[in-house]
């Protein structure tokens, strides 16, 4: 009997691990930033480089921080959803134009629409490193106190908006 049970057990263990492995997403790296203050930056605005934006300017409101670039293909897929989101809901969306040419970025916004209240420039990718960005697009949700409450890696889908972003934003808006 044992002769059959041992290989069977080994098989089951292996199958369970492989099965779990199938559902893992190695690209979803848990962010160490959740519930931590949004890293400081002072970055030039895309449309007015002489003006700078810092996270402190946004204190007291819930805002989305969306990392994008004109060279990023998934950003193009995500863009219509952000556009609609910006139109439908009164949420501040700040864009981090990541390692991009300002001219390319401006053209991109002109042709595809601009969902951002403000976009800031990070040509060298330093703000990106401070926010642990590794795959554009990424979207952070930051609360009234300036804490990062959620990080989304990859393009935001319409379903994500309904299931994740809207409930979370409503909850954060309700906080004092």
């Amino acid at each position: 009997m044992l002769k059959y049970i041992i290989p069977l057990l080994l098989f089951i263990i292996l199958a369970v691990f492989l099965g779990l492995g199938l559902n893992l997403k190695p690209n979803d790296i848990p962010s160490p930033f959740i519930n931590k203050p949004a890293p400081e930056f002072s970055a030039p605005k895309l449309n007015a480089p002489e003006q700078k934006l810092t996270p402190a300017d946004l204190k007291g409101q819930v805002w989305l921080f969306n990392v994008w670039a004109s060279w990023c293909v998934s950003c193009r897929a995500e863009h219509p959803i952000l556009n609609q989101f910006a139109k439908q809901y009164a949420v501040v969306i700040i864009g981090l134009n990541y390692k991009d040419e300002p001219e390319d970025a401006k053209t991109w916004l002109k042709t595809l629409g601009n969902p951002y209240n403000v976009s800031i420039m990070d040509q060298e990718g330093r703000i990106g490193i401070d926010y642990g960005v590794y795959g554009v697009p990424e979207t952070f949700v930051i609360d009234k106190k300036g804490l990062i409450r959620y990080k989304h890696t990859g393009p935001v889908s319409a379903e994500d908006v309904q299931k994740i972003f809207l409930p979370l934003i409503a909850k954060l808006e309700a906080e004092s």
Partner: protein, 156 residues
């Protein structure tokens, strides 16, 4: 000629490094740079270190390591800086902690299990060989020889 060429190509590929290798004036810092870039994971191409990868992010992270070393930061400072931003996952050598203990202990456990299996299999084989000889129903010279050979085998 062909095998030589092949070996040469292999050697070249081993030595290939990401293009923008930097030089620090202090050899000790240079050493730190080399170790750190070989211990940090490129998060875009996850099975490569930032020393190996030519992804943009890897090159930015190399720049970051380089600049921090120039500012006189220690290896630990830099590792903390990276884990603060990218989490434990950025380390190819994660610290020994509750979450990573399985990672560190598992190889030893598996090695032990393997050794145990080998040991048990050998012991069982020997026992059956002995049994087979005993089961022989004749006491001839041959049987004696077999037994002595088996015993010798056990001694060696």
């Amino acid at each position: 000629m062909k095998p030589i060429l092949f070996i040469m190509l292999l050697v070249i590929s081993i030595n290939s490094h990401a293009v923008d290798s930097r030089q620090l004036s202090d050899p000790k810092q240079q050493e730190s740079y080399e170790t750190l870039t070989k211990e940090l994971r490129c998060l875009v191409c996850q099975n490569q270190t930032i020393a190996d990868s030519n992804a943009e992010l890897a090159s930015d992270l190399r720049r970051q390591v380089y600049e921090m070393l120039q500012q006189g930061k220690s290896e630990q400072d830099i590792i903390r800086y990276m884990t603060d931003r990218y989490g434990e996952f950025v380390l190819y050598k994660p610290a020994f902690a509750g979450k990573t203990s399985l990672l560190w202990i598992a190889p030893v456990v598996f090695l032990f299990m393997g050794l145990m299996t080998v040991f048990l299999v050998i012991r069982r084989k020997r026992a059956t060989a002995q049994l087979n000889v005993d089961a022989l129903d004749i006491t001839t010279e041959k049987q004696k020889k077999i037994r002595s050979l088996l015993e010798k085998g056990e001694l060696s």
